[in-house]
Symmetry: C2
Subunit: 230 residues, 2 copies
Amino acid sequence: MKDIKTVLARCPLFSGFPEPAIDDLEGIARIRRFEANELIYSKGSAISTLNIIASGVVRISSVNPAGREATLIMFSAGTWFGDSVFSPGMRRVYGATAHEAVTLIEIPGEAFRELMATYPEGYPVILDMVSRRLWAAMSIIEDDALRGVAARIGRRLLFLAEIQGNGDIGTDPVTIWITREHIANMMGMTRQGVHKWIKNFERSGLLELAYGRILLPDPTALQRHLETIE
Amino acid sequence: MKDIKTVLARCPLFSGFPEPAIDDLEGIARIRRFEANELIYSKGSAISTLNIIASGVVRISSVNPAGREATLIMFSAGTWFGDSVFSPGMRRVYGATAHEAVTLIEIPGEAFRELMATYPEGYPVILDMVSRRLWAAMSIIEDDALRGVAARIGRRLLFLAEIQGNGDIGTDPVTIWITREHIANMMGMTRQGVHKWIKNFERSGLLELAYGRILLPDPTALQRHLETIE
DNA sequence: TAAGAATTGTAAACGATTTGACAGTCTTCG
DNA sequence: CGAAGACTGTCAAATCGTTTACAATTCTTA
């Protein structure tokens, strides 16, 4: 693994901080490793840290009273999660689980808030990033409200491709490592319901299905297709 | 209407700013009034302002390619909207419409960003507020993924009650001014589909239906009821 | 490599929501 | 005050997703 400082320096969240701030960050950070499907923290936990993903993929999820779990969003290397650090005293709003094995850089909430106060020039970028997360969430609400099932599933797949691929979506093939069951849980549907639609996508040549993963040979083709349907 | 400074001073978003910052804010702010259903700004607009609601209710919405409009969220007096100001150069991500007649205090984006840089002690509160918005959005995604239709509608009604009532939900009656059609559009359902469920709530005495509005005699009763269903 | 666990494919029956069509009710505005 | 417009209640048919059940496939690990 690359050293902590390299990972921190490349994380967009910190791009507003001057170099000495990154050094300070390194000083308070701690590396932790989790195996696939290992719990990172659970909803309601009082310990709050900001986490930078050095490698791997993380699931953010919630559990309903009946015990059914839903994945709300996923994050991959280079991004961050644990935004309850921005609200002092706040408990974990959602749980986090390693989707694949992950290496995290953990930054204690209180120390991070002090660091921000010391280097206020870092705030604008952080505010920008949190805002963008907010729009990403709103965009999912938007999809649920005014798009058909096919478009919803397709857009969620592109979303996952963006996360698990190398940043932006292009014409390069991307493999999404996720089970159909997981997709169903993310969307409030059943595995069989999801199956019908992605099978259609496969028949159109927009994706290829395999055990535990979905391959998008050309993500932009799916993207274009979604614009033609409701 | 109360004067600008009083409204600004009471807006939680600015509670981290020192008094002189509020004075500066007042200097760059401008009052605007909109009638019910009047467009405040549309999605994609390049002009970006932070808006504080002095009175009235605002709808944030999006339109799909087929022309169908969905209300994503609503805001009322004392709160703010227009978070694209936190990302310099960003166009409006969603449109805003006056739900009831509103009086807004408009703060130009660029000037506001300069103000934040001048008084960095205001950042932590702003970051906290944006984070909370993010969780509110996630909580809607969560509802869609793991709750039944009845619970989803009920929770959305409580959400609207919180917005249109006086802050927090209590045992005091709250009148929600919204049409069933609007609720349906918010939830990706049809008017008839919503009808069936809220009629059930009415039969249980949890709410009263009227023309263009829904009365919650005791919001906490509805809240408790929602915990007993899936 | 063989067994077992996890994941996926498939289909019919069932249940629930949307569609489409009208009539009735409430408001507002000339 | 009366008419137009907006909103609401209802119903049957059609559509769509879930449920239920079982078989087949792929992966993991002993």
